[in-house]
Amino acid sequence: MARKFNIALSSRLSPFQKFYLLIIAGFILGPFIPLIIQSFAFRWAWPDLLPGTWWLEQRDRAMVPLAWDYVLSPYSRVWEATVNTVLIGSIVTVICLAICLPAARVLAREKFRGKSAFEFFLSLPLIVPEAAIGIALLMMFIRLGLAGSYVGIIIAHLIPTIPYMVRMLTAVYQGLGRDFEEQAMILGASRWQVLRLVTLPMLLPGVVAGALFTFLVSTNIFLLTFFLGQGQIVTLPTLLFSKIAGGTLDASAAGITLIVTLPGIILLIISERFIKEEAFGKGFGN
């Protein structure tokens, strides 16, 4: 019944959309199949659809750990890189939140001279590529003794993450409306009580979305980490880059690639439960 109606303006998928969703699933997930196979291969030469020799067949004869044995061993530095990545991402997120929250409040609520210029300056790091400042930043950091240090990397990561965080928080602040804070003040709440009891809880979805984004951006940064880490600080993107820079993937590189995707998957599972898409929308609304 009412087929045409469904097509005209329905909440159901059109046949094209069904097809499209299948294609997208293939596009996103498909490449992971050879990746998983490769991570278990010993020798997998063209044109074999499956490895000619599997890693497990060679495992006992190998003079060094191969494939997953290598990946999961300390030699691969995967664990170190994971810890670094998550640690740096988390600290960057917390710092970023701490410095962006007050700024976002002022930006969302107050008018002052030079505000639009300031806002423009804030989004400049989105426009100016990391490549443009990486080397110069490295020179500054070497002089300051920050090159190859956690502190240096964390500070540097603030540059590309601040614009995301500020946008997101400013948008939620704008959406919040003053009513609630004013009402709380009328009811006798102090500045700090207003922030703690009313503002922060109400901003929470936006704060969480902003934090997630900041964390993502930080854990995705390659060039800045690569320049400023000086090989001393290995994160998942730099580790993987070193493995695949030549444009080939052996079993251990495939294994590392899989490990590099893990934090993202875990984060996805966690965040999907707590964050509604709408929360991100604010940051892109305007």
């Binding site: 063209w46 000619g52 070497i142 090989g231 070193s242 052996d250």
Partner: protein, 428 residues
């Protein structure tokens, strides 16, 4: 400048500090930061599995910093030096390097000093300048090491072919034969892209083989100061012309632009998948280790190419002038030149020994021989018979720049002009 560190350096270099004091200082420093190219899983494992405990036994913690390009470490040392970090105040204790990178540090006076012969294990190396076999210990790409670096591994540029794809009689042994093969099998060969040193080496071999004077590597042992630009241009022109003419026959050249892989992992991948039939790189034991790790096709075999011009060199460990832990660096350098270290490195990574067999005792020499993964399809005698020396590091820069200009960028300028420009730039 750290006065105490400077004092140690001066004292050690003057021979006033005995080795036990160095070891004591190393234990006190506690750490050593070794910067090395981290692109080999085998070497990485060896560092962690063998070197780290060995140093720990000497109360030194090894901090193996895996870098993607040796130049990164050189840049860091120079940047620190330029920002006023003197002796004892930098962050790099030791770099694995050779060729241009050493030459750069030397030129910038950023090296710790002549330490190599003062190491206890210096006796495992030949230092007699009159012995031609000492050449690679005294000169690195033609540049005098002056003991500021100590040999770590020896290498030779060897090619392998995939016997499943190439008949034994078709295997080339000269550049002309290579060209002939490619005319019949277009696209089945490529070499690593200069300025990567492996790519540079292939270019040098082509230049030696096409030396218009017919004296191969010989004229290229001099530095830029000793060889005028026009002369160099004359010497390298035929080799570069050969390479330029070869371009249309290289991998993917049919698609418009020939493809030069960025590093040897990339070349290995192409070789494994049969995208190319040959794999040329520094790697005396590359086939043996490649078969052991599955990165080479099963039928991979080494062969002699190019006859008489298979470049042989060494690579070294250097200590920067501003090394924060010079004592520990010296201890590391000494351990690295031990027979024990060299044998285990050879066995586990396939990197040939950097020490000289004839200086060793019988049993020690035997342990090295036994550690060898083995040659596949060639004999040591063949390799020795076709060995050739490196090009002087200062010329390498010129040749590299010329390749980029003449071959990559398809410059229409004559080679003389390009070389002259390169001379100019380098003297700035």
């Amino acid at each position: 400048q750290d006065a105490e560190a400077a004092q140690f350096r001066d004292g050690f270099l003057a021979g006033e500090i005995d080795w036990s004091a160095v070891e004591a200082r190393a234990a006190e420093e506690g750490t050593v930061n070794l910067y090395y190219w981290g692109g080999s899983d085998l070497l990485n494992v060896w560092m962690d599995r063998v070197v780290t405990p060995a140093l720990a036994a000497r109360d030194v913690t090894l901090n193996p910093v895996r870098i993607t390009g040796t130049k990164d470490a050189v840049d860091l040392v120079l940047a620190e030096k330029n920002s006023g970090k003197g002796v004892g105040q930098g962050s790099v204790d030791m770099i694995w390097l050779n060729g241009e990178n050493f030459a750069t540090l030397k030129r910038q006076d950023a090296l710790f000093g002549s330490f190599a012969r003062l190491l206890p294990n210096a006796e495992n190396l030949e230092w007699n300048p009159d012995d031609p076999r000492a050449l690679l210990n005294l000169r690195d790409f033609g540049v005098e090491t002056g003991g500021a670096e100590v040999p770590w591994s020896g290498e030779q540029y060897v090619c392998a072919y995939n016997a499943d794809r190439v008949a034994a009689e078709d295997v080339p042994s000269t550049f002309a034969e290579l060209r002939g093969y490619l005319e019949a099998n277009t696209g089945k060969f490529t070499y690593i892209k200069p300025p990567h040193y492996i790519g540079n080496t292939f270019v040098q071999e082509a230049i030696y083989a096409h030396n218009p004077d017919g004296n191969g590597a010989e004229p290229f042992q001099r530095s830029v100061d000793e060889i005028p630009a026009e002369e160099l241009a004359r010497l390298i022109a035929p080799g570069l012309d050969y390479l330029r003419d070869l371009e249309p026959l290289l991998l993917d050249a049919a698609g418009g632009t020939p493809r030069y892989p960025e590093d040897n992992a990339a070349l290995d991948g192409l070789f494994l998948n049969g995208e190319v039939d040959f794999n040329c790189k520094f790697g005396l034991y590359a086939v043996a280790t490649g078969l052991a790790t599955g990165s080479y096709p099963e039928a991979a075999t080494q062969f002699v190419f190019p006859e008489g011009n298979m470049i042989k060199n060494k690579n070294y460990l250097a200590i920067p002038a501003n090394a924060p832990n010079p004592g520990a660096a010296l201890v590391l350098a000494d351990w690295m030149t031990s027979v024990e270290a060299q044998a285990s490195k050879l066995q586990q990574t396939g990197m040939p020994a950097g020490i000289d067999g004839w200086t060793l005792e019988e049993a020690e020499a035997q342990s090295i021989v036994e550690a060898s993964p083995g040659l596949v399809g060639v004999t040591q005698a063949e390799l020795d018979a076709n060995a050739a020396p490196d090009t002087n590091a200062t010329l390498v820069d010129v040749i590299e720049a010329t390749w980029l200009e003449y071959i990559e960028r398809d410059s229409t300028d004559p080679i003389e002009a390009i070389v002259a420009r390169a001379y100019d730039n380098l003297s700035k």
